[in-house]
Amino acid sequence: MGFDVLSRRVSRRDLLKVSGVAVAATAVGVGPRLANGPGLFAAPAAAPSKGATSGDWPTFGYDYAQTRHVPFDQITKENVAKVGRVWSYDFLEGNKDIPPGQESFPIVVDGVLYVTTSFDNVFALDAKSGKLLWRWKPEQIGFFKNFGLTYNRGVAYGEGKVYLLTLDMHVVAIDAKTGKLVKQITIGDTVEGADASLGYYETVAPIYYNGTLFVGSSGSDNGVRGFMMAYKASDLTPAWANPFWTVPPAGQGWRKQGNFHGGGTPWMPGTIDTETDILYFATGNPSPDFFGEVRPGSNPNVDSCIAVNAKTGEQIWVAQSITRDLWDYDMAAPIVLMTANVGGEQRKVVAEGSKAGQWWCWDAANGKVIYDGVPFSTIKHPKPTEQGVIAAPGPLGGANYAPQSYDPTTNYYLICNVESPALLKQATAQQIERRGQGDVDFGGTFENAPNVEPYGTYVAIDMNTGKIVYNKKVPGVLRSGFTTTATGLGLFAGTKGDENIHAIDTSSGDMLWSFGVGGEVAAAPTVYMIDGQEYIALTVGGTSTSGTIPTQSMIEVFALGGNTQQIAPATPVATPAAQPIPGRDQWLVNDPNHTDGVIFNAIAALTEDNNGMNFNGYGNGQMTITVPKDWLLTIKLWNKSARLPHSIVVTTEDNFRKQVGQSGGFEPAFVGAYAPANPINGYIGNSPQPLQSNSGNIKLSTPGTYILACDVPGHAAQGMWDVLKVDPNATKPSLSTSQGGTPVAGTPVASPVEGAGGM
């Protein structure tokens, strides 16, 4: 399910407008690896189309079992705090035809990272450097702009091709090396009625397995008939003789009363047991979502885990989570297959936590229930009325499409949960009749419960007992999903108010690392190895249900030794509190560690003067720092702007004159005399940035006049520069400003630095 706020000229399909906020109804949604070897999933097997021991992340959930558990062990509980950014890519840069927002789960094959964006664009990036290798985009996107939902959750890889499902119900095969289209088919040609005009759409990633591509779809809230279909990856012809239909044909069973009502779409990827060739998938809610009167009975096979023969599409077993769903409680996230310690014995089981806020576990062979609806979220399931009822979870929670992970190091099952109770209002019978085929079919409206701020929790369930081990709160709703590693790390990311990637100790739930990624996250981390380096990739941009209207579409990639500069807005969660901006008497202070040392707190954009292009309120050379020759100068760069990045470089006058017209690129006059690590990009954040010299300071051994300039392109040219003088005759540091300066709260004067009082 997703929601969006739309203007009159923007799409409103799949949307309901509720209390001024348009809310869509179904919250919603490689070969790879097999993870179901004997015992625990300690070592994934090879991708079917490539070597056995790569560090790839070759399929949606890392392995066919959708465990999202990697065997990589370079990043540990002990060193995770040293993880930093190694590259990023902005999908919107130069690609204005891509809408903001990101729900894509990257895959990595042979050193290439394949990731999608809204409007079904596919990018191939060098997974080590982030260099763009190719981009593919559909030709016909005009109508996408009127579709409401724009997201795509990723691709499958196999046989040298990348496979994509498009919003308008096509399967696309792209040459993985060149990005050229190989073949495209219309799903409706082989699945009767599976057409966008009848309410179907695709946001899901397909799964490639053993020459076959498995394809579900979305559209439960539009009353479609859910299906799973298989195609031969080689030529995209059907691999099954028939689609597997999850609900009755129109006019039969519980669909007899309303031909346009339906549901049961599998809108996240399937899960495969490579030992038994069983395909498991979860199905969505029945529709009309909140109006059960026209779909009598338990509506079997919706909100269910379905097991079918992957070779033929024959049903093996079905287990329904909740019956008589009146709240849009899809089983959304991928089913996780695992061999776990269950009740003291090793058992092969499948499990999933659903939007109902409950968790189920079944025997993988026969669907017999092992753990039955363990609650991990606030549960309140009243029957909807026209007047409205408060239901918990709301249609956007508890466990939405965010993938879940099984961590064999702890035998814990990990879930990203959303606590967002909602006010559900049932439609009238007359309103139910007023819809055509393919139209939205919620059977009512919903909005956030009044006076309740939604939030997220991360949950661990002990597979041995079915008991919750911990359930910990984070500020934003959780849309990302979990990934776990062999070193006992659990990785996920937050949304509004918690724009961070997090690493927890899966055994305790303790937060070990939080790193600002600059935006909301609505997809789980991908972890891979190249040349002995372990990387964590994360798409950033959020979704319409993650808190704010998306404005970004990025990928951020992390590794040990990367740049530890976080990206604002970084809301500290288990991170040091933001430090206060130094007051005037703290701008120039003695260095407590060096007798002949001084610390300059350079505060970018301290005031709004000169459009914020100033240090400590002064620009255009109106502030001069004077330091005796051979003293050590430490510069801490602060940035008061939450919007514009800034940096500082100590450069020579000659270089400044030469480069200031070239949009920066200043040469440091001393080794490491700049901050942050990439001064052209600059930084936004709450913590001061040190100089990049080894010691964080520079020895001013050469007398002369230097320039302190911001190296973000254009800033110095706009006057964001001041003066540093290294004076052989000076006996102590001082700070002065010219008469034309732009003072802050009184005029700074030469600041004495002797003694502790001024420090």
Binding site: R13, L16, T190, A241, P249, G253, N259, R435, G436
Partner: protein, 361 residues
């Protein structure tokens, strides 16, 4: 009379060179069963490929777009799964016979040619139970055949003909009057409800939107073409219980979607009628429905076929069709099937040849 008591004659194909190829299905048609949520809705369908009575081994069979993973066995047998819950007709062909052996001997070029041209079909149909065995003679007038159309359980009637949607249809052109291909037209009501999309237009530029006119709503009209979304700036009200016709224009410049009225205003015209879905049984000769008056199955599945005049001797056979159609006249269970609803020729997916009625001279 149960029409499924019949031979497998349709499995036999006589090629131009005189060879007889049989796909060897026990039945060419199976009756529809009710969909089961907890059971199996697929049924194994086995055949045996022979040429002049000799088994054909190593041939690859194709069913519609689906190619069977395994070639025919040594005795020519093959098997695939069919969904027995949907009315359907599936074309069966030989996708590859290059490695085929006939009675252990590689196929000759003539035999290969015959095999690759052979085809048959298997159908899943409603059970037709006729009220007695019709006898037809050339020159008969006002012959009436009656029966029931049910699921395999013989009690559950075929779903009745139903009003499905109202439509908006028209042609979308460029400013110079040329029909636009690959355009998707859409409407959406003011609250995001009552939205509808068309399929991409073909060479004729014709589009159809299926919707339920909401009298309380005004609709925005848009058209997606290439990378541009063209938007009409004039919301439209559609009358309840009515369809509409409305031609559209995509301008050379800008992204406003225009109508055909003055200054590009939209000119929707009321269109009597609606779109229905219904399933019926009829009689055909050589893929063509005969001139007969049909009734839709009533709420018990009972139907009738009235033949005004039996013109010629020969063989008639039943067909079935699930039709989705627009008509200006109201269609009701048990009522007459309106003129123009039946196609002149049976579409490939319509089951036919279900029971032969011999017309004697």
């Amino acid at each position: 009379m149960n029409v499924f008591k019949r031979s497998n004659v349709l499995s036999d194909v006589r090629s131009a060179n005189g060879s007889t190829i049989s796909f060897g299905f026990a039945k060419n048609a199976i009756p529809i069963t009710l969909w089961k949520g907890t059971g199996r809705n697929l049924v194994a369908t086995a055949g045996k490929l022979t040429l002049n009575g000799q088994p054909v081994a190593g041939a690859t069979i194709r069913v519609d777009h689906y190619t069977l993973p395994n070639p025919t066995t040594g005795d020519g047998t093959f098997q695939f799964l069919r969904d027995q819950t949907l009315i359907d007709r599936r074309r069966v062909t030989i996708a590859d016979a290059k490695r085929a052996k006939i009675a252990g001997t590689p196929a000759t070029q003539d035999q290969l040619g015959a095999l690759t041209k052979a085809s048959t079909a298997v159908s899943t149909v409603y059970l037709l139970t006729l009220d007695g065995q019709p006898t037809l003679h050339q020159g008969d007038h006002d012959v009436k055949i009656t029966g029931r159309m049910t699921f395999a359980d013989k009690t559950t009637p075929v779903p009745p003909v139903t009003l499905w949607d109202y439509i908006i249809r028209g042609v979308i052109r460029n400013e110079h009057g040329k029909p636009m291909q690959n355009v998707i037209v859409s409407i959406s009501g003011e609250n995001g409800e009552s939205s509808a999309l068309s399929s991409p237009t073909g060479a004729s530029g014709e589009y159809t939107l299926r919707f339920f006119p909401d009298p309380d709503n005004q609709y925005d009209v848009r058209a997606g073409f290439g990378e541009t979304l063209y938007t009409g700036m004039q919301p439209i009200h559609f009358a309840p219980g009515e369809s509409a016709e409305m031609d559209l224009v995509i301008p050379d410049t800008g992204d406003d979607l225009l109508g055909t009225g003055a200054n590009g205003t939209f000119q929707p015209k009321e269109l009597d009628g609606a779109e229905y879905i219904g399933t019926l049984a009829g009689l055909a000769v050589n893929q063509r429905p005969i001139d007969a008056t049909l009734t839709w199955p009533d709420d018990q599945g009972a139907f009738s076929i009235s033949i005004p005049s039996v013109d010629a001797a020969g063989t008639l056979s039943f067909f079935q069709a699930q039709l989705r159609f627009f008509t200006p006249t109201k269609q009701t269970p048990g009522g007459s099937v309106g003129k123009g609803i039946l196609p002149a020729e049976l579409a490939p997916k319509m089951p036919r040849g279900l029971h032969a009625l011999k017309v004697t001279s």
